[in-house]
């Protein structure tokens, strides 16, 4: 049972404190487990602070997403057979990702949110960010992929030629 008015204080990796409703933290497997591990009465107010290995700026974005998704069904539905689909990102989520400043910052912010979603075990957020990145690279050329993912080509010319030769079998 979750008490919507109950609040949890989260301490970030850079020393900040944020207090949020249990209605939001119930979507985080990590925070819920931490509260359970405290073995306190659910009615105890306030709870002890939960330390999260996420910086303040990223946690604010995570909380913004959680606030929008506070009423999402739990447990998060496992969609193993439909995992390929990436065109069903809600409009609010798309706008949420798009507003992240410049191109470079957007990518860095996306990676930071992905890492936070993994650490905090927020399956819905991990799924959404995964779809976002998949959409960015689907159908792109090798060069475009390197640019989007900020990768350096470390193949020799011979190695690259060999891979292209193997791929040609399928690409034709």
């Amino acid at each position: 049972r979750i008490y919507p008015l109950m609040r949890v204080t989260l301490t970030t990796s850079d020393g900040a404190s944020v207090t949020v409703s249990r209605q939001l933290t119930k979507h985080s497997g990590f925070i819920e487990k931490a509260i359970t591990d405290m073995a306190v009465d659910d009615n105890a107010v306030p709870l002890s602070a939960v330390a999260v290995d996420v910086d303040d700026a990223t946690l604010k974005l995570v909380i913004e997403w959680l606030t929008e998704h506070r009423d999402d069904a739990l447990p998060y539905p496992e969609k193993t057979d439909e995992e390929r689909r990436a065109d069903d990102i809600p409009a609010w989520d798309q706008a949420f990702v798009q507003k992240w400043d410049t191109k470079e910052d957007q990518q860095q912010t996306l990676y930071a949110v992905i890492t936070a979603a993994d650490k905090l075990d927020i399956k819905g957020l991990l799924d959404m960010t995964c779809k976002t990145l998949a959409n960015k690279i689907n159908g792109k050329t090798v060069e475009e992929m390197r640019e989007i993912l900020q990768l350096e080509c470390d193949f020799t010319e011979e190695e690259l030629a060999e891979i292209r030769k193997e791929n040609a079998w399928c690409e034709n």
Binding site: R84, Q108, Y111, C130, K131, N138, C153, C170
Partner: protein
């Protein structure tokens, strides 16, 4: 916020999820970006695809996996090894809604399938079988994947004992061609590349004389009916009477599972049965003819029309000009749910 992050530092659980979402062609390009991604591509699951399959022609084998088509290679041990090499570089597992094997008669086929499908998952495996030895190979593959659902297109009629030894199938299609395998290849090509069921093409193939009536006697047909959920027949079972046809409807009507029997035949083969049931050319929408209710009668133009009848919990659809002349082909669908009819 950490400004120095790169994608390769992201959690494995995320990269695994990501690699399940990208298409095969994107995997081919990703493996060209850098050494690390080449490794990630090879060591991750490619995820789920609705359809995939192998096709064989003139001693070569080709393959389609999701959005990617692999060009034909020679059906030799060396050729197959090359195939396996690239598969191993592209993913370490993959799932399919439906995977079609055009079964080959050689022993190499079995070895190849067993090796190739290592770490593959299938909801339905569909076999296309054209000869007795191919059926033997298909049965062996079925034994290897005992927990999978199977369906089969039989482009010949096996000996009765062998036909009845086929394990329960989701769908079985039985038809014979009068000409060589080019006709079959054409049907299969349309089936595979355009996602169209070959069954809808039967009338057209009949009109060209490519498909013969299937010589399955009614006693054998009833045994097939108890075993397989959906049956498509390139013809009416031999010696089947109007009361046998009604018994088929009764069996399908009383089954709680979704069932369908589809038979393509000359319209003159179904006309006596309809008259026996009390349904004549004069029937109108809403008429009750004995135990049958007429839901829809043929409309102009007659060549693309259909008749819809209801018997107990069965819908009987007759596609084509049911009251046409002797060379007019129709498809009779008997189903216990409207969706299938």
């Amino acid at each position: 916020m950490n400004k120095g992050m790169d994608i390769l530092a992201l959690p494995h659980v995320f990269l695994n999820k990501l690699m399940r979402r990208v298409e095969i062609k994107d995997r081919l390009r990703l493996r060209q970006t850098c050494r690390t991604f080449e490794k990630i591509v090879a060591e991750t699951n490619a995820g789920y695809f609705e359809i995939g399959g192998t096709a064989q022609r003139n001693g070569t084998i080709s393959m389609s996996l999701g959005d990617a088509h692999f060009a034909s290679i020679e059906y030799t041990e060396h050729g197959l090894d090359d195939f396996l090499h690239l598969r191993n570089r592209l993913f370490n597992g993959i799932s399919f809604g439906k995977f079609q094997f055009n079964v080959n008669h050689s022993d190499l086929f079995l070895d190849f399938i067993r090796t190739f499908t290592d770490h593959f998952k299938f909801k339905i495996i569909h076999f296309v079988v054209e000869a007795a030895q191919e059926l033997e190979n298909a049965l062996q593959v079925m034994a290897d994947f005992s927990s999978t659902t199977f369906s089969m297109d039989l482009w010949f009629v096996p000996a009765t004992e062998k036909l009845l030894s086929i394990p329960p199938l989701e769908t079985i299609m039985i038809a014979e061609c009068q000409t060589d395998t080019n006709a079959i290849s054409t049907v299969l090509s349309m089936y595979y590349h355009y996602g169209k069921s070959p069954y809808g093409l039967f009338p057209c193939f009949y009109s060209r004389g490519l498909i013969k009536n299937t010589p399955i006697v009614v006693e054998v047909f009833f045994k097939l009916l108890t075993k397989h959920k959906t049956i498509y027949m390139g013809g009416k079972p031999a010696m089947i009477s109007s009361s046998d046809l009604k018994e088929i409807m009764q069996i399908i009507s009383s089954d709680t599972r979704e069932r369908l029997v589809s038979m393509t035949m000359k319209c003159t083969d179904i006309q006596p049965d309809l008259r026996y049931f009390g349904v004549t050319e004069d029937a109108k929408n809403g008429d009750v003819c004995g135990e049958f209710e007429v839901l829809e009668v043929p409309q102009e133009p007659l060549y693309c029309t259909s008749m819809l009848l209801r018997y107990r919990k069965c819908w009987i659809t007759i596609q084509g000009n049911v009251w046409g002349s002797s060379d007019t082909m129709v498809t009779v669908n008997i189903a216990n749910c409207e969706r299938l009819s």
